[in-house]
Symmetry: C2
Subunit: 271 residues, 2 copies
């Protein structure tokens, strides 16, 4: 067994989630953030950025499937998909389950991709697919400067502070809406950050008149209750059947994930 230690994520000022771990596999400070990879007893390998859990080997599939498949299911044309952030390759892996032509991953921090290739190969091997093009750039600037259009923009980002703050701004949403019909992002915990979600949803609606909010259980994110916002320029049909082999998502589950608990619904939609 060897000796066991614990590390904790301070999820909020009054709450910590602590994991027993076998080994700290990697730790470095990049110009953008601190990257750490732990090998834990309960959740397998865990990637942290600035001390926040980004994904775990055990429950990461929930986040990746729920970020990717609802929007992919709505697409009639699946030629060009953009992922902003997502340097671990988990969302990319889900996108590549469809017959897409090209996927652009725009990750600001090259080291996230390199570290993930080394320690999270079950996700990051998706970067070897010939349909993938990686850009190590600021996502907002990259998107603004592209001349072409895309079928979907997925934002797989950290919390809306520091480098990711821009990805939840008006300027960014305007640029996304000029380049794509459909857009999806994680949008924090509706249990802990419902005011953020309400304000963000209002901003999304200015550029995508038919936004959807939906929820998923993500055990290792603060409160376990997580939200996503999908921006749509027009109303869409029910999503298509997903590829086989998924472990969380079905179109029916997606419909269910849009039925919000009263306390969330009231904060988002009552005057």
């Amino acid at each position: 067994m060897g000796k066991m230690n614990w590390f904790c994520e301070e999820q909020t000022p009054g709450l910590k989630l602590c994991f027993k771990y076998r080994e700290l596999l990697h730790s470095e400070e990049t110009p953008y953030q601190k990257i750490e990879v732990y090998d834990t007893e309960e959740y397998g390998r865990i990637l942290l950025l600035d001390g926040k859990v980004m994904l775990t080997e055990k429950d990461g599939f929930i986040y990746h499937e729920m970020l990717v498949h609802p929007a992919m299911g709505y697409l009639k044309k699946r030629e060009k998909v953009v992922i902003i952030g997502g340097g671990d390759g988990g969302c990319l892996k889900e996108v590549l389950k469809y017959p897409v032509k090209e996927v652009y991953v725009v990750e600001i921090d090259r080291r996230v991709v390199e570290v993930s290739k080394k320690y999270l190969p079950f996700l990051a091997s998706s970067f070897d697919d010939p349909r993938v093009k990686v850009f190590y750039e600021d996502g907002y600037r990259w998107l603004k400067e592209r001349e072409d259009k895309f079928d979907l923009v997925i934002v797989d980002s950290t919390d809306p502070v520091g480098p990711a703050e821009i990805l939840f701004s008006d300027e960014f949403l305007r640029v996304v809406s000029e380049k794509s019909f459909l857009y999806v992002t994680q949008s924090e915990s509706p249990f802990l950050h419902v005011d953020f979600l309400r304000d963000f949803l209002k901003r999304v609606k200015k550029y995508f008149p038919y936004p959807l909010v939906y929820l998923a259980w993500i055990p290792t994110y603060p409160s376990g209750m997580w939200s996503f916002v999908m921006g749509r320029k027009r109303d869409t049909d029910i999503p298509d059947s997903p590829p086989p082999g998924l472990r969380y998502y079905t179109p029916r589950l997606f419909e269910a994930s849009r039925v919000l608990p009263v306390f969330v619904w009231k904060r988002l939609y009552s005057p």
Copy 2:
């Protein structure tokens, strides 16, 4: 502010959830268990039994509403309801929102009720309602020895180990099915304990041929993803409108809460 300390619940051998607290309000060992009440920064007052979080002031409403309202919504006749466990009064408070005639609370540990009355009056004041009769007895034995029948049996218990183990057994389910048409219980985390849930569901089905499994987010329970099992002797209509003022439950949310993620569905229903 005063000085702040932390206490942790060991949710699984590899995972701890830690709360910053202002004060340990109460701690005692009874013949049945250790009872503690903390005043925390993030979740308000928290009741722990044997070191496990039973409820918090901030998110307890989710558990109480989801345990009570789906089953109450199915009842045509709401005269006599039994709560086994539930010494904190949270479920009782929800049941009393309906025009029931009598509610029997069968709590094995008198001290849970007394401590809750002192430290959780926002829940435990429900014991003052004249429709309530409290018995400090073993729930299984109490139910077995009653001659009369009930409209609903609610089991609001701790984990299925120690004193609560009997409440998930065949003998207990048989007795419940002799006394009531409808039955509901919490049934652990489908993320962490899906095999327990599968085996338990099979047992329930022997006595209640139309069982339902449904889920809720409970941020302070292990993994945040929690399950409930409702036992029904025959198929029922959609539940009635709940009383006003609820913060989580709606009949539509209940329908949604029955759509299970693929990994849960497969473990419960595939051969």
